[in-house]
Symmetry: C2
């Protein structure tokens, strides 16, 4: 059964209601000791003040979300995003994040060149790895659901993430952020997770609603959808992962419209029962 000491809340689950400090206080009051930090909330509050607040409350940073989007950036734009991701690695180090979450990006507008987009993502990654080494941070490659391939992530499976890591010489600075919502449908899932042994740096939980209205912003609460979270968690733990089980629900039509305390309390309750 899920153990609250392994449970984390991603700040994005609170929707727009809570800022950085309020979400920490509220989650802490529920006995939660891990948090997925949303970059814009942290920077709005201030990096140093945020790092101090995390320390003072004894909150660990399960993941720092998110940067990258190299695949759809061409020319100077790619340079800017590479620089920005280096800054994120500095920020991640300042808050002691378990990983800095990397999203690949989609296709440039009007393009059909999927292979070219993937190459740009790899090129950008090769340029940020040295800074990850310098800062002692790990870059967490997060495959997203194939329905986001056009506009958000040309990285869509766990096996592909392992292929990319191999193409980048198995750099120890690279890891995988594994999200059940993005990957549950994958017929190679169990085998790909076995292959990712020792490579997971974060684990994101939510559920896939049968009647989902949007591939990105209509995620469901644990237990409300069709993902076998218990089995998948077993495979995740078998990779040697011992970090947080982090609830990350982007939900425009439901949870973001409610008091964010509800998502946290319900999430924790479901986690304890289901995972």
């Amino acid at each position: 059964m899920g153990d609250v000491n392994r449970f984390a809340m991603n700040q994005i689950t609170a929707g727009p209601t809570w800022g950085f400090a309020e979400s920490l206080t509220r989650y802490h009051a529920l006995g939660i000791r891990g948090v997925g930090v949303a970059r814009e909330r942290l920077l709005e509050y201030g990096l140093e003040a945020g790092a101090r607040l995390l320390r003072d409350q004894g909150m660990s940073v399960a993941s720092y979300c998110f940067g990258g989007l190299f695949a759809d950036a061409t020319g100077l734009r790619l340079n800017e995003r590479v620089d920005d991701f280096r800054r994120m690695l500095d920020e991640g180090a300042a808050i002691g994040a378990a990983s800095v979450v990397f999203l690949a990006g989609g296709l440039p507008d009007g393009s059909v060149d999927l292979a070219g987009a993937q190459e740009r993502a790899l090129e950008g990654l090769s340029r940020v790895i040295p800074h990850a080494r310098d800062t002692g941070m790990t870059i967490g490659l997060e495959p997203l659901h194939p329905s986001t391939c056009a506009f958000r992530s040309v990285l869509v499976t766990t096996g592909q993430a392992m292929d990319w890591i191999e193409q980048l010489d198995n750099a120890p600075e690279l890891s995988i952020v594994f999200d059940v919502y993005a990957t549950w449908w994958d017929p190679n899932l169990e085998a790909s997770l076995a292959r990712a042994n020792g490579r997971l740096s974060a684990y994101h939980l939510s559920d896939w609603l049968r009647d989902t209205q949007d591939p990105r912003l209509d995620r469901g609460m644990l237990g409300d959808g069709c993902i076998d979270v218990r089995s998948i968690t077993r495979w995740v733990e078998a990779t040697g992962f011992s970090g947080f089980h982090e609830l990350e629900i982007l939900s425009e039509r439901n949870w973001w419209r409610r008091d964010p305390s509800e998502a946290a309390a319900t999430g924790l309750e479901r986690y304890e029962a289901l995972v």
Copy 2:
């Protein structure tokens, strides 16, 4: 460049406007000689009359859509769907279809047992293979996009379709209906198509819109999205496929609201330019 003699229109592209006979007449007038037949339209018109009309107009049946949905059928329901698919094989034989399209089905309501759903699909397939042999028909396994996994198809990649065919002893009655919309994002696509050498029985074309509103009913016109149809068609042809290139656009918010002649004329024009 695309050759009209290889081009087919799937009747569903016409939306609800045209019945079986009208779509044949209209497509024929555009010089099109292949058609993907929608079962409910054929049966409404009458099987024998429909078969005769196809023959009289010299129209070939690129695919016969669709049956199956075994994965989410439990108990007696599965028996009914198996029986129904056997009838579809008879109908497919009567109209000389290149294949009878099989969709796997999703998860039963409330279930999280993806492996169980896949097993039911395989069990049902094993029960219809003998009738495919008797009728001389091929069963075309069509992987659908992973966003349909919950409610429509637990079969989501070309590689997985080949795995299923292997698990069914490489029965010669099994083939793959390959759809670019469902598969374009797959990092293993080229390799999986190479593996599917000689196994393709139909090829469905449409495009993935960057701002797609629905995973199932918001497909785009060739050239309006981000699929590299030309490269994928090359890989398809390299499997030895020599059948029709069939335009199948489910489009609630655009093409289904227009005169269906537009989708056919535009589709043919784009096909000649792009494929």
